[in-house]
Symmetry: D2
Subunit: 309 residues, 4 copies
C-alpha cells in the first residue's frame, strides 16, 4: 500500500465505474481503465466518488469494484475511496473494509444538513472517531453539490485538530482565493496539507499558481491535467497554459452539470479505455446531437494538439 500523506502532489484521477451493456460492473474494463490511467502518469486514483456512481452500487458491488482496482494497481499508486454515507455506522463499515483491502485513504464530504462552523467541525470530529485516527482522509469541499459552505477558518480548525486530514479536495466557488488563504495560513505556521483541485480541471493553471499541489478530478483526457501539473512543476507556466487552452473547449463541454459523466464515459469508450459508455439509472442518455457536438470538439482538439506539437 502506497502512503497517502499531506505531501501528496500531482493528479489523482477520479475514476468512473464501468458497466457492461447489461448493467453489471465491468471488471475487465476496470482493469483496462486502471492500466490506462497509470500509463498516462496518474499519481493516484480516487474511486467511488460522486462521479463514480457510488450510490447506484450495492454494497457488495462496491466491495468487488474496490478489490479489483486495488488488485490491478498492485500498490503502484495510492487509491482513495469515497466513503461518504448518510450515517456513521455505514461510513465506518465501509472505511474499515476498504482500508483492510489496501486502500491508502478515504474521502468524506460533509452531510448536506450542516450549516454552522461548529456543526461542520463536529461532523469531522465524528468522522475521525468513526474511521479511526490512523486512516488518512480527504476533506471534500464541494458546495455546489453538498450545499455546505466550509470557510477557510473551519478548514484550518479541522487541519489543526485532526492530523489524519491530509488533503483538501478543493471544489468551492470562487475558490482561488481559498487556496491562497490556506497557503498564507501555512506560511504563518498552520500545518500544510495537500490541496488537490476539482471542477474537471477548468481552473487548473490558476489553481497551481495559487499554491495547489495538483488535481483530483475527472476528464476523459487526464493527460491534460497530468501535463499541466508537470509543466507547472518544471516552471513552464506559459506552456502549461497553451496545453490547457488546447483542451479547454472540450473540458468545458464535458463539465456540463447533469450530462458530464455521460459525455466522459462516451469519450473513454471511444478511446477504447472502457467497453461501454453505459450509466446506471438514474442517468441521462446522450442524444445524436450531443454525440455530434462531442465528436466535433474532439476533432478540433486533435488538430489543436497536433499544431501544438
Amino acid at each position: 500500500m502506497m502512503e497517502f500523506t499531506e505531501s501528496t502532489r500531482g493528479v489523482y484521477v477520479i475514476a468512473p465505474t464501468p458497466f457492461t451493456s447489461e448493467g453489471a460492473v465491468d471488471l475487465e474494463s476496470t482493469d483496462r481503465m486502471v492500466d490506462f490511467f497509470l500509463e498516462r502518469g496518474a499519481n493516484g486514483l480516487t474511486i467511488l466518488g460522486m462521479m463514480g456512481e457510488a450510490p447506484k452500487l450495492t454494497l457488495e458491488e462496491s466491495f468487488t469494484f474496490v478489490r479489483r482496482v486495488l488488485a490491478r494497481v498492485k500498490g503502484r499508486v495510492p487509491v482513495i475511496v469515497g466513503v461518504s454515507a448518510p450515517g456513521f455506522a455505514q461510513m465506518g463499515a465501509l472505511s474499515d473494509r476498504v482500508m483492510g483491502d489496501g486502500a491508502s485513504g478515504v474521502m468524506v464530504a460533509p452531510a448536506a444538513a450542516l450549516r454552522s462552523d461548529e456543526q461542520i467541525l463536529g461532523y469531522y470530529r465524528q468522522v475521525v472517531e468513526t474511521i479511526g485516527e490512523s486512516t488518512p482522509f480527504v476533506l471534500q469541499d464541494f458546495p455546489l453539490v453538498t450545499n455546505v459552505i466550509i470557510p477557510v477558518s473551519v478548514i484550518l480548525k479541522i487541519v489543526e485538530e485532526l492530523p489524519s486530514c491530509v488533503c483538501l479536495k478543493h471544489e468551492d466557488w470562487p475558490g482561488l482565493s481559498k487556496i491562497a488563504a490556506l497557503r498564507d495560513a501555512s506560511a504563518a505556521g498552520a500545518r500544510r496539507i495537500s490541496i488537490l483541485c476539482g471542477n474537471g480541471g477548468l481552473f487548473l493553471p490558476e489553481e497551481m499558481l495559487r499554491g495547489a499541489d495538483g488535481a483530483m478530478t475527472g476528464f476523459a483526457y487526464p493527460e491534460m491535467m497530468i501535463d499541466v501539473c508537470r509543466l507547472h512543476a518544471e516552471g513552464e507556466t506559459e506552456r502549461a497554459r497553451d496545453v490547457f487552452d488546447a483542451y479547454l473547449p472540450l473540458a468545458r463541454y464535458e463539465q456540463q452539470p447533469g450530462l458530464g459523466l455521460a459525455l466522459r464515459k462516451y469519450t473513454l469508450a471511444k478511446r477504447g479505455i472502457i467497453a461501454e459508455a453505459k450509466l446506471r439509472r438514474p442517468g441521462p442518455n446522450l442524444s445524436a446531437a450531443d454525440i455530434a457536438e462531442l465528436e466535433a470538439l474532439i476533432d478540433r482538439q486533435t488538430a489543436r494538439l497536433a499544431a501544438l506539437g
Copy 2:
C-alpha cells in the same frame, strides 16, 4: 404475512430502533416494544423510517432488526419497512431482502433532488421497476424533510399508473386540503388508496374528518392515536377531540424538530417499553431542563386523562 393493501385503516406505529447503553441494537427491547404496540392495538408497524435512525445502522444491523421485529410480530399485523436509498441498486437489494423475510410492504420517500412533476413521476416508475410490481409500497410525502413538493395531480398520476402504490404517508403542510382533494378525486373515479397521516398525530382529528384512514407516525403514547381513530370510526368525534386535547400539550412538545426522537425514547424508556433512551450519533442529548419539562408535561397529562375518565 399480513396483506398490506389500499384498504388499510388504523394506526401504523412508526417504531424507533432501540439501542443498548453500549450502542448496540437492543433486540430484547425490540421484542418488548413490539409486544407493547400490538397490545395497545396498533394495526401495523413501520420500521426503519426517518425516526428509526435507519441511516445510522449498518446493512447487517438493519437486516437483524427487521428479522427480529418480523419474528416477534408473527404475522399478526403488517410490517412496513423504509427502503429509501440514494440509489436504486441499494433500494432493490434492501427491498428484496425484507420482503423475502416477511415484510408486507415498503416505504419510499422521493430523492431530495426531484423538482418537476415529471421527475417525481419518473422516479416512482423506477422505484416500481426496482422493487417489483408485486411489492406494495407507501408513498412518503414529507416536504419538510425531503424538500420535494408532490402536487395532488402527481399523486393521482402515480396512483393511476402504479397499482402497487397502495398507501400515502401524508405529511405535507398545509395538508388537510390535500387529503380532501385526493378523496374528491376518488369520488370522481380515481383509485382510492389508503391515506395514513404523520406529523406526530398533531392534526389527527382534522385529518380523520377530511377522509384519512388513520395515522402512520410516532408518539410515545400511541394510545392517543389508536383511541382517536377508534372513536372517530365509532362516530364519537367530540370524544375523539377530548382525548386528543388531553394529549396535545405533550404531543406538541415531543414534536420539536431535532429533539423529538430523544424525547420519545426517553418517554418510552420511562414507561418501561425500551431499556434505554439512547440515540446513536449524530443525535441530541436531553438536558436536565428538557427532562424536567417533559416530566411536568407527563404529570399534567396523567391528571387530565384521569379527569377524562
Copy 3:
C-alpha cells in the same frame, strides 16, 4: 416615541396588514386593530414582518401603513418595523424613513444565502452600518423560513460587537436550549438582551421558564400570550399552563404553515377587529371545511375558557 431596549419584556404582537375587499390597505381596520391589541395589553407592536405581507405592498403603501399605525399608537408602546430587504440600499432607505416617522426600532432577518458564522456576523455588521448605530434592532432568527442557522456563539458575537442589537426574535427549532445557553452566557458576563419568542406562541410556557422575556409573534387571540406572560411574571406557572392548554388546540391549528395567516385573519375578522379576512396574492383561500374546523375549534375553546373561569 417609546424606547426599545435590551430590557424589553412582554408581548409584541406581530400585526397583520388589513386589506379591504377590493384589496387596498384598510386604514380604518388598522386603527381598530391597533386599539384592540393595546386594550388587551400588548407591550408593543411589530409590523411589516413576514406575517404582515410586507413584500406584497408597494413602497408607498408600506409607508402609509407605518405612518397610520404610528399615528394611532401615539407613543403608548414601541412599534418595531420589519426592514429586511434584498439589498442594503433598500434596507437603509426603509429604515431611515420609518425611524424618522417615529418607529422605536427595526427588525432584520439574515439574507437567505448566508451560511458560515463569519458571513452572518459580517452581514449584521453591514446592517448596523446601513441603519446607523443609534437604531435599535431585532435580530430575527427563523431558520424554517430563512434557511440560515445562527449558532449561539454567533448571536453572542453580534451581541458583543453591535450594541444596537437589543432583542432576539427567537424562532429556531429546537429552540429551548438556545434560550438557556444565551441566559447562561449572560450569567457569565455577556450583555443580556431581550429574548422575545415566536412560533405562534406554541412553546411559550417552556420558553418563559428557560429565561425568555416574552413573545413577539402573532395569534388571533393575543390574550393567550399576554396572560401566559403575566401569570409567569406573577409566579403562577401552573395557572399559566392551564391558560395555555385551553388555547393550544386552536393555536396549533392556526400555526399550519402556508395557511396560518388566512386562518388568523379570518378569526380577527370574525372577532370584529378587522373588516375583511382578505389576503393579497399569492395567498391561500380558506375552504368551507377549513372554516368549519376553525369555528368548531373556537367553540370548544370558548367552552374551555369559560370552565377555566
Copy 4:
C-alpha cells in the same frame, strides 16, 4: 420605442450598473457604456438583471438609471428591464413605471419557493395579470440561482397560454437539449418564441447550433458573442468556433461564481468603458493575484485574436 417580439435575434447585452468611487450611480459611465455596446453591434440591452446589482439600488436610483439608459439609447434598440420582486405589488409598480418610460419589455425570474409545475404556471399567470397583457416579457430560466426547475412542458404551457411571453432567457444546466426540445415543439406546431442564452456565453456555439436565436448575457468582451452570432448567421460555424475558442480562457475565468461581476467591471474599466470597477456591498474585492491573472489572460487573448486576424 423598439418592439420586442418573439422574432428577436442577436445579442442582448446584460449591462452592469456603474458606480462612482463614492458609490453613487455613475450616469456618465452609463452613457459611455450604452454607446460602447451599441457601437459594437448589440441588438438590445437588458438592465437591472441579477448582474446589474438591482437589489442594491433604492427604488429611486433604479428609476434614474433606467431613464438614463433609455434616454441614451434613444429607441435605437429595445431595452429590457428586470422587474423580479418578492411581491406582485412591487413588480407591478416597477413594470408600469419602466414601460411608461419607454422600455420595450421586462424580465421576470420565478420566485424561489416555486416547486410544482402548477405553481410555476400559476406564478406566471399572476405575473401577466400584474404587468398587463400588453407588456412583452422574458421568462428567466436560471435554476442555479433561483433553485426553480422549469420543465420544457411548463415552458410550453406558458408559451401557449400567455402570448406576452415572447422570449426565454435560457440558462438551465444541462441546457442544450432544452433548446432542441423547444424547437422540436415549435416544429410540431407550438408558438415559436425567441430563445436567448445566458451563462456568460460559455456554450454559445452549441446553443446556436441547437436553435437559439442569440444571447442575453454579460461578458466584458461582448464582441465575442456578437461575432459568434453573426458568423453563425452567415453559416461560418467553424470560424464562429475559432472566435469563441480565442475568447474562451477569459470567458471561463470571468464566469467564476461570486467573483464574475467584479472581474467584468474591472475589465470594462480597464477598457475605458466605465470609470470605476466599483461594486456595491455586499460584493467581493479583487485581490492582486486576481488582477494579475486577469491581466495575463487578457494579454494572451489579445495575442490569440491578433493571430486569428
